[in-house]
Symmetry: C2
Subunit: 382 residues, 2 copies
């Protein structure tokens, strides 16, 4: 490779923690990175140039892309019209705006899975609340079901479970995907990467462990404890999917395993993902380095898992809002195999993602014990 290939002028839409960690990884190769983000002093600004502006705004994205050779994203909710114009002007835009458009719309996403034979839970598309009520009255829809807005749902927003008749009074009145409720045995995620030349690699599945009653992610464990058959199938779904979606970069695929050991695609994200943060310390190639390899059309790195790992999100403590204060860091850093990442968000609020901690080790039981200790100790207050 000559210099021109590794030294394009790069723009990232979004300067949150994913943009920050992309920029940190890019610094190893001295990549020239700017981020577009509306919040001054965004997390990424510590290691990238920041242009103040909204990545959802047509003009802002167009202007940001003007002097860039390559534009990529850390969030999928971006202005695609502007990205299409930039692509038309010969800029490299990865992932492709059309792939992002399909993923932005949960309805199109579900239809895509059906059309290409990817396993996913049964669904019906509905234009609004009235249509959902009609479907239910006609017996075409059985309670309980899940209503997901086709657009703007993110991190649990725009998703609700209709458990009983009275819940029908609170339906979202907007285009929705109605899914039958999956009897979930496990939730896993598989990260895939694909470079410009079409090389594909998949990481080992990660298992999400939720609170038994509250719908709250407690931690993620890698590798997931799975039968070989399920493990292989999950990776193969992610492999096929990144190819069929024509994505260059990363694709995080969240999957359900139901009580019949069937694998169903839940959601996907065409970018670095929370479920892949453990790759920084626990895998041969971090998802952030892998993203750069993919979009720069370099050979992909090994996705081998080197250590057992648990990933904990560091969330703003309930009851505290304001200037963030981190307590318990020194105690956690005294424990073996603990890697703390603080994103640099100045303000904390309840459940805001302020950082993450990866715990690695040879023995998963020890890793679990240490994770419990970290979870009890590290707090973000104000």
């Amino acid at each position: 490779m000559n210099a021109s290939k590794i030294s394009p002028t790069i723009g990232i839409l979004g300067g949150g923690q994913l943009g920050k960690m992309l920029a940190q990884a890019g610094a190893d190769w001295n990549l020239d990175i700017s981020v577009l983000d509306p919040t001054p002093d965004s997390p990424a600004s510590c290691c990238a140039k920041q242009i103040l502006g909204n990545f959802r705004d047509y003009e802002a994205v167009l202007e940001f892309g003007r002097d860039k050779d390559l534009i990529t994203i850390e969030i999928e909710d971006v202005n695609l019209d502007a990205l299409r114009v930039l692509k038309g002007r010969g800029k490299k835009v990865y992932p492709d705006p059309d792939a992002v458009a399909l993923i932005q719309d949960k309805g199109l996403q579900k239809e895509f899975y059906s059309r290409h034979g990817f396993p996913t839970s049964e669904f019906i598309l509905a234009a609004n609340a009235t249509e959902i009520l009609q479907l239910e009255e006609a017996g075409k829809l059985k309670i309980p079901f899940v209503q997901k807005l086709t657009k703007a749902g993110y991190d649990g927003r725009g998703v609700q479970i209709v458990n009983e008749i009275t819940d029908l009074d609170n339906l979202f009145d907007a285009p929705s995907v109605i899914e039958s409720l999956v009897n979930i045995k496990k939730e896993i995620a598989v990260l895939a990467a694909r470079n410009v030349s079409g090389e594909i690699i998949t990481y080992d599945p990660v298992e999400m462990i939720f609170h038994p009653t509250a719908n709250l992610l407690l931690y993620q464990e890698c590798p997931a404890e799975l039968d070989d058959t399920i493990n292989t199938k999950a990776k193969s779904i992610a492999h096929e999917l990144i190819s069929k979606l024509n994505i260059v970069g990363l694709l995080a695929v969240e999957l359900f395993i139901n009580q019949h050991d069937e694998i169903l695609i839940n959601e996907v994200a065409p970018r670095p993902h929370n479920s892949g943060h453990h790759t920084i310390e626990a895998c041969s190639t971090s998802q952030f380095h892998q993203h750069w390899r993919a979009v720069l059309d370099l050979p992909l790195g090994s996705a081998d898992t080197l250590h057992h790992s648990i990933l904990l999100n560091v969330l703003g403590e309930s009851g505290y809002s304001g200037d963030a204060i981190y307590s318990g860091i020194d105690k956690c850093l005294a424990l073996p195999g603990v890697y703390i990442h603080l994103y640099g968000k100045k303000q904390t609020k309840p459940f805001r993602k302020m950082g993450h901690v990866t715990i690695i080790g040879k023995d998963i039981d020890q890793v679990r014990d240490i994770a419990k200790e970290v979870s009890k100790t590290l707090k973000v207050i104000a």
Copy 2:
């Protein structure tokens, strides 16, 4: 630990590759880091605020330190008078200016080793060339010997070997340490870290492999192939030395092993060091994270070696000067266990350190084969 302990305003004297990698590691904890460096767009500027100024200049260092809570260094050739004033004003200055003063002067350093019983090659101090000639005539000095200027020697500058009588015509005419030539069997380095509370940790010794005829470092290998006795003794010397020198931060100790398996201290550096770059991928805690743990008085991280590793410096190719072009990166990234670090120096010149590559693996022979391939493939031209 409360927030105040991890969130001081930090200044680093020097913004080269060591400052850059310190800043990259600091970004994981969202540390507030500025560097003082006279070269615009210094390597560290990609992930730290840069103040333009000379770290050897009294006023520049004083001004830089004015609004900092903690000042540290990535190079030992800095203005110590200014650091002493800043320390007097209650700033945290690590390592201590007195320790750096001792290390800046190779004469004082040698006398320190003698006084405290640390093993080092025999030496005489001389004020100038005339004194050296008189010592030689009086039979107190046997050719061959090494002349090292007590000050301003760095990376081989200010050091020469007097092999024969005629070499006496080219003596440096300045204060020097005259050392007897060591019959070297191996050259190794041991990195030690010490935090404010006095906790000390040492990494496994690294072996430097030189070209059999040219005085050129070919690569570094970790762990060094050593007898247990020598291994333990080398680590214990580094442990004792960082304590006796009262250093908070890192101390890289370069050691000779002679043909009688005696260990002799060659040189030390009170900062992150080239011989410790493999720690980023090959050890539990990188030297850069360890430095921050030490100066922030956090518990030190494990120094365990997780993988066999070889470290190659990426030097500017002989015969090329100008805007740097990197060739062979794609081929190298296709090899397993290869981690490339480019420092972002815009201009290359023969033998300039432009980056480094760490190769890790389970099998040292395979690591050596891949290192050879990388060494042949990756070139910096202009």
